[in-house]
C-alpha cells in the first residue's frame, strides 16, 4: 500500500468561513425550530425551558434565520466572483453523469462492479447536498417570510398560503435535518473524518477515492489558469460595483423581511371588539351617572361613591381625560373586564364621567 502524504487545497478561507457560519445557523435553527414543531414531546419542553421559554426560542430562531440569510447573500457574492471574475468551471452543477456515478458506486459497494467510479471535484453526493442546501434555504426563506409576516402575505397573496407555508417549512426542516444526519454525517464524519472544510486541505487518499477525476486533472496539469493581472483587475472593478449594488439590494431586502411586522412573535395588545368613539362629556348627566354606576356594578369594586377599595382604583374626581376613561372601560385594565358598547353606551360613559367629577 502506497501512502501518499501529499495534500491538496480544497476550500479557501472564505469557503470555510461560510461553512462555519452555516454550521452555527443551521444547527441553532434546528435546535430552536424542532421543539416548536414537536412541542408535545417531553424533550422539546425541556429544551424550550432551557432556552428561556417559547418567546425566547422564537426570537432566537429568527436571529439564526437572519444569520443564515446573511451567509446566503455572501455565498451569492462568492459564487458570482468565481463565475464572473475568476471564471472557473461550474463544478457544482449536477448532471446525468452524477446519477451514473451514484449507480456505479452502489454496484461497486454490492460487489457487482470492480471499479469505484472516478468522480470529479464535486461528486454526486456533494452535489446532492449542495442542491439540497440551495433548494432548502430558498424554500425556508420564502415560507419563513410568510410565517414571519402573515398579515402582509395575506394582503398580497392569499391567506391560504400561510398554513401551506407552515406545512412546507416544517416538512422541509425535517427533511434537511434528517438528510444531514444520514448523509452528511456518514460521508464526512463516519466513513472518513474529512477535515477539509476546517483545514482547507484534503489527503491524496481521499482524493483517490472521492475525486479521482480531479486528481487526474491535477496530476496531468489540467488546472485552472488565472487570466493576466490587468484582465483580473478590470473584472474586479466591474464586480465591485455589481457586488455593492447586489449587497445593498439584498441587505435592504433582509431588513425589510425582518422589520415588516411582528405579528407572529408578539401580537399587539388585544383590542376591544368595537371602535372606541369620542366621548362628549357636555351631554353627561351626573344623576344618570350615579344610576349607571350602580346598575353596572361599578360600585362593587370602586365603591359606592367612587372611593375605591384597595387595590382597586378610586375614581371620584378621576384625573384621566374622558377618552382615556372610555378606553379603560371598553378594554378593561388589569383585572377589570372590558365593557363593550352593548353593555355601556358612549352616552352612559359620559354620564359616569360627569358624575365622578361631581363628587367631592
Amino acid at each position: 500500500m502506497v501512502t501518499n502524504k501529499k495534500a491538496y487545497t480544497r476550500f479557501s478561507a472564505s469557503d470555510r468561513m461560510e461553512h462555519f457560519v452555516l454550521i452555527i445557523s443551521f444547527t441553532m435553527l434546528g435546535v430552536t425550530g424542532l421543539p416548536q414543531r414537536y412541542g408535545e414531546f417531553e424533550l422539546a419542553k425541556q429544551l424550550i425551558d432551557l432556552l428561556g421559554g417559547i418567546e425566547s426560542v422564537r426570537v432566537m430562531h429568527r436571529f439564526f434565520a437572519v444569520m443564515l440569510m446573511a451567509v446566503s447573500i455572501y455565498h451569492g457574492g462568492a459564487v458570482s466572483y468565481k463565475l464572473f471574475v475568476r471564471r472557473v468551471r461550474l463544478s457544482m452543477i449536477p448532471s446525468l453523469t452524477d446519477l451514473r456515478h451514484a449507480w456505479q458506486y452502489f454496484l461497486y459497494n454490492l460487489g457487482l462492479r470492480k471499479e469505484h467510479p472516478k468522480m470529479p471535484r464535486f461528486n454526486f453526493g456533494e452535489k446532492a447536498e449542495y442542491l439540497a442546501v440551495v433548494w432548502g434555504t430558498i424554500l425556508m426563506v420564502i415560507t419563513g417570510f410568510m410565517l414571519w409576516n402573515p398579515v402582509v402575505t395575506a394582503r398580497y397573496i392569499s391567506g391560504e398560503v400561510i398554513p401551506a407555508a407552515r406545512a412546507a417549512h416544517s416538512a422541509e426542516a425535517f427533511l434537511a435535518i434528517a438528510a444531514i444526519v444520514i448523509w452528511h454525517m456518514y460521508n464526512v464524519h463516519i466513513k472518513r473524518f474529512n477535515r477539509a472544510i476546517f483545514t482547507g486541505k484534503i489527503s491524496h487518499e481521499a482524493m483517490e477515492e472521492e475525486h479521482a477525476l480531479e486528481l487526474e486533472d491535477i496530476e496531468q496539469g489540467r488546472v485552472y489558469q488565472p487570466p493576466p493581472v490587468e484582465v483580473m483587475l478590470k473584472r474586479q472593478q466591474v464586480f465591485t460595483v455589481y457586488a455593492a449594488m447586489m449587497t445593498a439590494i439584498l441587505a435592504g431586502g433582509l431588513v425589510y423581511f425582518v422589520s415588516l411586522e411582528d405579528t407572529a412573535i408578539e401580537t399587539v395588545p388585544r383590542q376591544s371588539f368595537e371602535q372606541i368613539n369620542d366621548i362628549d362629556v357636555t351631554k353627561g348627566n351626573a344623576t344618570l351617572g350615579e344610576i349607571v354606576w350602580l346598575e353596572q356594578n361599578c360600585h362593587s369594586c370602586h365603591g359606592e361613591t367612587g372611593e375605591g377599595v384597595y387595590p382597586v382604583l378610586p375614581l371620584a374626581q378621576t384625573t384621566s381625560d374622558p377618552q382615556a376613561f372610555a378606553i379603560a372601560i371598553r378594554r378593561g385594565p388589569a383585572d377589570m373586564p372590558g365593557y363593550p358598547v352593548n353593555q355601556i353606551s358612549d352616552e352612559e360613559i359620559a354620564h359616569l364621567y360627569v358624575w365622578l367629577q361631581s363628587l367631592d
Partner: protein, 392 residues
Amino acid sequence: MRRRIVAFLMGAGLVLIYMSFSPAQSSAEDIVFEHPAIPAQDGGDGDDINVTGDNSYCLLCHSRENFVLELEGGGQLDLHVSPDALANSVHYELGCVDCHGEDAFPHVGEPPTDARLYSIATTTICTTCHEEQGESLVDGVHARGLANGNLRAAVCTDCHGAHDVQEIEDEPQLAAQVCGTCHTTVFAEYEQSVHGQALLVNNDTNAPTCIDCHGVHGINTPTTAQARNRSPELCAKCHADEDLMEEYGITTNVFNSYLSDFHGTTVAMFEQADSNVATNKAVCYDCHGVHNITPADDSKSQVAKENLLTTCQQCHPNATTDFPDAWVGHFEPTAEDNPLIFGVNWFYRLLIPTVLGGFAVLVASDIFSKGRRARSGQSHAHTDEGGDNGDE
C-alpha cells in the same frame, strides 16, 4: 318530609306552650323589652337545649314580622326568622344556638354595628361544620375580594340563604340564577348564549352553568394568565368528550386541531413552560366569545364567515380580507377546501421517503461494502484518518 313536618309541629306546639306561660304576650311591642319566661332546662347544659331542634324559645321574639334592629352605623338588621323557612330548611334539625351560640335574652353580646359585617361574620359559623368548603373558599375570588376590603363580595349566606338554606340539588339552572343576582351583566349575556339558552330555555342540564367553568367555592380569578392559558382545557372537558358531543353532532376534533395550529401550539407551550406567563395568543374564547358564545354557524357568531375578519382584527389590527383564510378552521386540510396545504403535505409525503430512503440505501451499501472488504482482507477503502492532516 314527614320528619320536617313533625319537627315543625313539635316546634310550633312548644311555641304555643311557652307562650301560654308568658306573662306579657298580649302586646307584641312589650316582648321586645320584657324578659320572656326562661324555659325550664334539664341541667343547664348547653348541649341539651337545642339538640332536638327546639327553637321555640328564640322564636318567641324572632318569629315576629318586621322585627328589626336599628344599627348604630345606620341601616337595619332584620331579626325576623320565619319558623316555616327554618322548618323547611336543610338545617331543620339544628337549633338556633348551634349556629348563633347560647345567648338567652337579654342578649349579652354587643349588637352588630353593620348588617353587612354581620353577614360576613357568619361565614365562620358555616365553616365550623362545612370545613371542606371553608378551605376551598379561602382561595376563591370572593374571599380574596373580602380580604381586600370589598365588602360586597359574596359570603355563604348570599348564595345559600341563611335560615332558609336548602339542600344542594343538581339544579344548574338555579346555580346560574344565584350567580346572576350579583353578576347581572354577565348573566344577561349568558342567558342569550348557546349554553344559556340550552340550560335555561331547553332545560338541557348538559349545558354548562356558571360553576361548571368557574368552580364553586374556590373560584379562581378568570383574568389571570394561568386561567387564560388553561382555558382551552376547560372547553375541552366537554368539547373533547365524544359521547357527549355526539348528542349534539359537534366534532371533538376542535381541541386537537386547535393544538396543532398556530395559536394552540403557542398557548400549549406557554402552559407547559410556565403557566403564569401571559400570552395573548388566541384561546377558544377570544374567537368564540365567553359568556355570549353562539354556535359557530350562527350568523351572529364572532367566528361566522362574515364576522371573522373583525374577530381576527382584535389581535391583528392590520389584517385584510384574505387574512382569515390563514386559519383552516378546525378542519383537516382536504383536497377540496385547502388544495394548497393538501398538495404540500402530499409533496413531502413523497419527497421525504424518496430522498432519505435513497441516502439510506447508499449509506447501507457503503457500510456493507466496507464490512465485506474488511472480512476478505483486501481493503481498498482506507479508514486511515491521518492522511488529510496535510503537512505541506
